[in-house]
Symmetry: D2
Subunit: 362 residues, 4 copies
């Protein structure tokens, strides 16, 4: 399967940056799930660029749901979301971009699609497509919240600045879900934004780290081999453009730990099995253990920068120098966090429906 | 799907640590693929424990192939590999282990399987099962080599010691594939082994980082969404017990880079598009770009240690202290590298067969 | 997976009879495939109701393609087709139909969707959805034709009248693909239409048998177990509303044959292996043998009839009598044949892409 | 996917007629499912050839389960069944059969596997493989029975003789499940066996029709598109060698009915929705309606007959005459009925686990 993820609850993504619509089809959602349009619109707003730290391209993201919803609730059949691309010029496509932007997908798209790819604005590879993923994921995320499963993501690191660690997870998540720039520590937030602006002023860009927490997941979800909970989440997260790494719990820091440091002692908390620490990120042997699921992704700097760069023209097979022009983000990590929440929600809805049946999320 | 990975070339894993057989079914391999038993046996030997840095449990791994191979070549139908568990006592299973070993899957297995899981020696969660994965992957890896696609993994970090970076990739990979302890720098190798022995003497364990390189992959393999090459590889790698993180190319280091540092300039090398640097790890937009695919995994310390640990008995729901006894590894990172090679080969065979058809690997 | 079919080339269907749009996403089509709008429109016209033998509901089927096509050719990324439902009243949905129409999906939809299903006009179960399947399949069918693979279907039986058998397959298929009422024998065509009109005048409906032939398929496509060519085709055909049976080659007639009658002798025809007869319908052991693939489906009479029928109101759990009113077809078999062609094309594109790679259909 | 069927509960088949083992891996079965060895052995006995109406090849089918079962119950992890091929000569394979047996898979296997296929005794295409399918399905079938879901199949037609229709379904199924030759009417049973013997004496073979009934299925299982209950069942049934047709409820007879005859009136029976007739075979709109699921398959005559037949040698590409020798069945329809039960059970376990969760069958 290609642009479809999931077995019981699945999402199919379509569209190009400069096409008529981008969108998503979500299938397998339980019937009777409430569609909260304020919630979806809020998530789309959080994803949209804003201010000096983002691209000036403005989209209303005036999504509409054209199937699968009646009287504000899912019917149980495919839910189709359309988001028009308003801020583009229509008209025939006349000149393909054949000068490969470094660390973009221009060249690899050509290797795969042999010159037929839509290269306008990144085409199907554009971060723009994540608006559809956010809308689809928002439906799932809201549904999970009704079952007490709550997801939140902060920018853990950006431009050399670190946010504080998660503390009171529930309170932190609630705070994050209201923030446009999702950083728990205000001083860190300001420093990160300053770093982004500084990079932008030099025609450059910065990357960062996103940290996601999920609370309220039941223990016993995931498979020992191949469909471990880490496998499912990582499979999805590496679909988010610019994500180049993921780690669960203490992740790469485990490499320098000893077992006696890493192991999470089990204990009883109000009669429920819990762990004293959570180096495992809520997952043992691929299966949730009832503790918060915690993971971090590495988001690379936006590859489009306004500096001359060495590259090739793959049509003529000649070397050349590229100096990009246009509308781009000096950082996307703060926008990608909404995508990461949405993507997480999609994975969890599928895993929970497989585990507990198609009506469980009703 | 659960214990099966892959769409065109797939692998199904089965077995338990103390069962009669562990094994794997590989389906969809091109017909006519040569089975090189020396190659498979060599990989199994590299995975097997040896010396003071490993568990004293010794298995011959006397695998046999009971279907899908005639006259030393694949028929094109399912190849079934059986590996007997010789070094176990047979007989009925009488007492389930209900005291959860911290950071093991004992408790989560119980949440999922409600007391019916085979808990002897870790059951289906045991690292023992990776012997079957290695045998299956070795067939794929050998096949890829015939097409010029070569995979190698070294222990990049262990016990606080770092190996040198990859230099001449082809030569490094060839060297690694002969080494029992896959470290490029001899001094680092000795220091790592000393660190493992030191941990073992304290009843403790260490983790590490594995770095894998793949050379010779064609450009244009992978999908823009959901089945990105990173998604496919990470999905598989998180099935390897103890892997808790993965990063491609410069990975988490990208978080602190600027775009101008991260971007890989394209150039022409002997008329072929290449990049001057490889921060992208050979993948742009989810699709291979023809450069080496590079990724690193974080391997946590073996959770079984010989120190008293706080935990719960999940049958009686009471807190208790556990001091494990038995046969265990103070480190598995050096053994896991063979598993990582094998797992990589399985992912690539599937992706290549989907891209170029079922006969491509013949 | 639910409303998605296929692994390499896949189709996702969405929409309801009275929703804003119905549509389909086709993913995995080779890049560079030509979109022939005349061809698609022609197929949609053939599916649309016409004259006294069909429902008076008229739809323009003014489809548009909103992603995945640039300059008239596929890009290789998802192709999304939207078809507006023009001939419906918009507005909130206020009263669900809880009186189950016999042999319709009203009651089973309620069992599955618990009252949240869209019951207007059959909702997602409506034959209307097949317009999207036809549009998607038409793209595939046209593509296959460029590779010499040609599909055609005739109404083999309807209202007690039988069409003649296929004779010169290529000529017959070419003729059928121009006919609105796809019957090879003109006298039979007239008799069938008379039978439909006669049933309609009594407020009743008739069923029929569709026979499909595919010529030009390469030998060696399909799998021995589970994904036999018969499995793949039947899986898809039973998605076409009203199909209740399928048979390949001589099908049920084989039950009364002896092996000596049934067996298809192999021979050489212009140096190519062929068979003297084709009782096998072009498939041996689940795999194409290079002969025409032939299958027939049983299409039940339209369940909506204008006669009083015994049924239940599943909301109040009471027995009642239903006399349907509205716009319905006295027969759908002649319209379903276009759907059967389209559905066949989708299955074949997927099977061929899995077998020969994603570029094969280019 | 190839030799694997199912998403939540899946089965993978492997082995060849003359290999060391045939077998199956069943994954995703609920933990705690009882393994009833008498039940499995009984099903294998029913499948095994016996008497003059079958091949003289005798196999003990001394299956063993080598993973996934502890203390007589499933653990929830993959269950692997091995069945040794005892009645074959081991040793290298020296001469491939290149003379294609008409209506066998010899030639198509060669088209797919390019000469590498195991052609001894039909290899992976052999009906022998169904022993593994029966063993796997028997576990599922027994489990379903514990939930009140009962499956039974009779030979509805064979050698020109028809069995009586199902009457009291539960009693009929119970009777059938004890019969070696599963025919409800004794006189018909004798006449069928006489017809088989008569064909055998002429070196010929006969086909037949199998009719399966499932009672006790909940209403609301199946999908409107692509994974209709008919799609799932037909996908599986066309994997059974020799099946060339399938019909649900009144099937092909519907082609000549009017809607007023075909429609199944709904009524209330002890407060439960039922239908007065069952032309729909228990499925409306792809979804179970709570009535018995009824389907029939067409089983072609055994293609191996002891008469000279025109064919080709595909190695030398020359025409030739083949007169088969060896051990073969003059009919397989009476043996295939056990396979059809088993195959049905596998499909239902998967569909129910997807619908109600992985623990539902516990």
């Amino acid at each position: 399967m290609k642009n479809t993820y999931g077995h019981s609850v699945s999402v199919t993504l379509f569209g190009e940056s400069h096409g008529e619509y981008i969108g998503a089809v979500i299938d397998g959602l339980a019937p009777g799930v409430e569609i909260n349009h304020d919630y979806i619109a809020h998530k789309l707003t959080l994803r949209r660029p804003a201010g000096k730290i983002s691209t000036p391209r403005q989209e209303q993201d005036a999504y509409k749901i054209v199937s699968g919803v009646v009287n504000g609730r899912t019917t149980g059949t495919p839910v189709t979301i359309l988001i028009p691309n308003e801020n583009v010029k229509s008209g025939d496509y006349t000149a393909m971009q054949t000068v490969a932007r470094p660390s973009h997908a221009d060249y690899t798209a050509d290797c795969k699609y042999h010159g037929y790819q839509d290269s306008r604005g990144g085409g199907h590879f554009s971060g723009r497509i994540t608006a559809a993923l956010v809308a689809a994921g928002a439906i799932c995320q809201y549904t999970l919240e009704q079952k007490g499963i709550v997801i939140g993501t902060h920018v853990k690191r950006c431009g050399g600045v670190a946010d504080r660690d998660f503390a009171d997870l529930r309170a932190d998540i609630e705070a994050l879900n209201e923030l446009t720039f999702a950083v728990l520590d205000d001083t860190a937030a300001e420093a990160m934004q300053a770093a982004i602006v500084a990079a932008a002023e030099e025609g450059d860009s910065v990357g960062g780290v996103l940290e996601t927490a999920v609370i309220g997941l039941p223990a016993g979800v995931g498979e020992p081999w191949f469909d471990t909970m880490e496998s499912l989440l990582s499979h999805m997260m590496f679909s988010i453009p610019a994500v180049k790494g993921i780690e669960f719990g203490s992740g790469f820091a485990l490499a320098d730990m000893r077992g006696s440091e890493d192991n999470d002692p089990f204990l009883l908390e109000d009669g429920v099995v819990a762990t004293a620490t959570n180096h495992s990120g809520g997952i043992n042997g691929g299966i949730t253990n009832g503790m918060p699921v915690i993971f971090r992704t590495a988001v690379k700097p936006t590859p489009t920068i306004f500096k001359p760069q060495q590259t090739v023209d793959f049509a003529g097979m000649s070397e050349t120098v590229l100096q990009p022009m246009g509308r781009h983000d000096p950082a996307i990590v703060h926008r990608a966090r909404v995508v990461q929440d949405a993507a997480t929600a999609l994975v969890l809805c599928d895993a929970l429906a497989l585990r507990y049946g198609t009506d469980w999320l009703k």
